[in-house]
């Protein structure tokens, strides 16, 4: 089956005065129809830029410098602006982080909804208004008919994010990119919004790319998860495997750094030493090598491809079966559950 979204070797560059920065470097992933893909990574890892690149709204001077983006098999990264405009909203919907600022304060909710609907569909004003009301009902806004004539400031944050979801889904897109949809909300509202997003997309068979740094949300919602580090793919695979048996040293560090309510409150959280490099100062070889406990010479010289690693794929030489790491490294790695699936002793020297 053709994936809803297929990203191949995507490269996003930002020209600056001090040279060209690579915000996204050689990133590939697919999203199957109806699938929810979680995008995780630290701030600056390139999650949001990936989303913006897909929907064609990179902030200038950022630009797609290489690779392909295909939506249901059709290339969309080179479309002329006017055709790309019809992809946005109609085929790809996007939800932003802050519902308080995503809605134009000067227009009624109903006006913003019907405007979006009429941009993409040939409907009468009456029919568009009916559809707007159905959408509001669908996202769980009580007394939808009256709320159509309310202004954004008359809604609470959670309600506004529901309106934003209704707006993003107004023209029934095949793919919804949700960029930190719950970060700005109260914890008690977050779960409702995530459940709503998941249900409403499942009803329509829409795929979701869920960008967040909240592993809890990912574990709850996503089918698969894609971990980014410094604009590069670290690991991608089914959410259960990535969370329970991470195969990239970075993912492992990330999972260990999540506090658990059940854990001992006095226990110190694990940390990854150092911090993610700035885009202008990515080390040669694997971007993670200066912070990695298992780095060896090759990691400092060559960039790893994504290798199959158990149920996931990890961009780490620990998983290169053809050219395995030194036995000492592999031994240490396998003790913590990382490394090639075969026992280190069996690896041909």
């Amino acid at each position: 089956m053709t994936p809803t979204l297929s990203v191949r070797n995507l490269r996003v560059e930002i020209p600056t005065r001090r040279g060209v920065l690579r915000a996204i470097d050689d990133l590939s992933f697919d999203i199957a129809p109806g699938e929810v893909l979680g995008m995780v990574g630290e701030s600056g890892a390139g999650k949001s830029i990936t989303g913006s690149a897909i929907i064609g709204l990179l902030e200038p001077p950022g630009r797609v410098a290489g690779g392909e983006i295909r939506l249901a098999g059709e290339r969309i990264d080179h479309l002329p602006p006017e055709r790309m405009r019809h992809v946005r909203g109609k085929r790809i919907g996007m939800i932003f982080q802050d519902p308080l600022t995503s809605l134009n304060p000067l227009y009624r909710i109903g006006e913003q909804l019907t405007e979006t609907i009429l941009t993409h569909e040939q409907l009468s004003g009456r029919a568009a208004r009916d559809k707007a009301q159905r959408l509001l009902e669908e996202v769980g806004i009580p007394a939808a008919a009256e709320r159509l004539s309310a202004y954004p400031h008359q809604f609470s944050g959670g309600m506004r994010q529901r309106v934003v979801i209704a707006l993003a889904l107004a023209a029934d897109p095949q793919l919804v990119i949700a960029d930190e949809p719950t970060t700005a909300l109260d914890v008690s509202v977050q779960a409702q919004i995530i459940a709503l997003l998941k249900r409403i997309c499942a009803d329509r068979g829409a795929s979701v790319m869920l960008i967040t740094h909240d592993m809890g949300v990912i574990a709850e919602t996503a089918d698969r998860v894609c971990v980014l580090y410094a604009g590069r793919l670290a690991e991608i695979g089914p959410v259960r495997d990535v969370v329970k048996h991470p195969q990239h040293p970075y993912t492992r560090g990330l999972m260990a750094a999540i506090p658990s309510l059940a854990g001992d409150p006095d226990e110190k959280l694990a940390q990854i030493p150092g911090s993610m490099p700035r885009l202008g100062a990515i080390p040669p070889g694997c971007a993670f090598n200066p912070r990695c406990d298992f780095a060896f010479d090759r990691c400092r010289a060559e960039r790893p491809d994504a290798y199959p690693a158990g149920a996931t794929q990890a961009a780490c030489f620990l998983h290169d079966a053809k050219n395995p790491p030194p036995p000492e490294i592999a031994g240490r790695a396998s003790e913590v559950g990382l490394g090639v699936t075969r026992a280190p002793a069996e690896v041909p020297q």
Binding site: I55, L57, R85, H86, V87, R88, G89, K90, G93, M94, F96, D98, T101, S102, L103, N104, P105, L106, Y107, E115, T116, T119, H120, Y151, H153, Q154, S156, G157, V164, L167, A168, A170, A171
Partner: protein
């Protein structure tokens, strides 16, 4: 909405009373009104009688009350200089100033807003840079210099437009004379309007540009783009409308100051308006005209501000209910 309007109205009346007080103090205590009215050879007895007749011996508060009562009936006394009622003098000069001011304001808006939108949308284009450079000239050159330059260039060297006066005017009833209906009237209006409006135009352009740049960076514009709305809907529907609140404020205040500061332009172009009359009044210490002019300008400012406040509410729903809810 009505409560809001009434609150603002009460504030406006308060402001007017304060200005009236200043105007009254000037009228009553800057020089002796009696001295201005009588000749050098008037006897002290006659002076005392006139003082009594004018009510100048009454308590100050009573005099102030009378002043306000008269002003409310548009009675500002007799001009020392022209020996005519001030109200009639002002009424005969008002149309010239108002026409000049409104045409200037219209020019400033009609040119300034589109230029501001353009420079905001295409900040890097050639035309934008040219507009900004021109606007810098408009902001930094004093009005009288622009007027003189225009006269020198267009009237003297090219001979296209008249350099002074109002041209032929037509009386359209209620004592209102207009220059908008005759060719020479319209021709005479062009240079003074540009002179008077140029500064406001560049101000409005820079304001709209700044606001556009700001608004185009907001999340709701990003979200509007992500929904695939057309460029026109985004730029003019969503972005421009959000820039309007500050633009309305500034434009409103500027209309007031255009009227008030038409003095200079009217002098340069010998425009027969209130400004020119005020300047002549200052030269001959014609206090009643000065006091009335002060009141009139204050009244215009207050009225315009009141209208601006009501316009806010029409544009921005968040102001409607006395502040936003979280």
């Amino acid at each position: 909405m009505l409560a809001f309007a009434i609150r603002r109205l009460v504030q406006a009346i308060g402001v007017m009373l304060v200005v009236a007080l200043i105007s009254f103090i000037m009228f009553r205590f800057v020089g002796d009104p009696v001295n201005q009215l009588v000749g050098v050879d008037t006897s002290p007895e006659d002076r005392a009688a006139l003082r009594e007749a004018l009510g100048l011996n009454d308590p100050v508060l009573l005099q102030f009350g009378r002043f306000i009562l008269r002003a409310a009936q548009l009675d500002f006394g007799i001009s020392y200089q022209f020996k005519q009622p001030v109200a009639a003098l002002i009424a005969s000069r008002l149309p010239a100033t108002l026409e000049l001011s409104l045409v200037s304001a219209f020019f400033a808006l009609a040119v300034g807003v589109p230029m501001g939108v353009f420079t905001g949308l295409y900040p890097r284009s050639w035309a934008s840079r040219a507009f900004l450079a021109i606007s810098l000239i408009g902001v930094s050159l004093p009005t009288f210099l622009i007027g003189i330059l225009l006269i020198f260039l267009v009237s003297v060297n090219l001979g296209w437009l008249p350099s002074f006066g109002r041209g032929a005017v037509v009386d359209i009833g209620f004592g209102w004379t207009t220059g908008l209906l005759t060719t020479s009237g319209l021709q005479s209006l062009i240079l003074p309007s540009i002179t008077l409006g140029l500064f406001q135009m560049t101000l409005i352009m820079r304001l709209v540009r700044g606001e556009m740049l700001e608004v185009l960076r907001t999340d709701y514009i990003k979200f509007a783009r992500a929904r695939g709305l057309s460029r026109r809907a985004i730029n003019f529907g969503h972005a421009l409308k959000n820039t309007l609140v500050p633009v309305i404020t500034i434009t409103g205040l500027q209309v007031g100051s255009i009227i008030a500061f038409a003095i200079i332009t009217e002098t340069v172009f010998q425009w027969p308006g209130m400004g020119l009359m005020f300047l002549q009044a200052v030269q001959s210490v014609d206090i009643p005209i000065m006091a009335a002019y002060l009141l009139l300008i204050a009244f215009l400012f207050v009225t315009i501000n009141f209208i601006v406040d009501l316009l806010y509410v029409a544009v921005d729903p968040r102001i409607r209910l006395g502040g936003a809810r979280g």
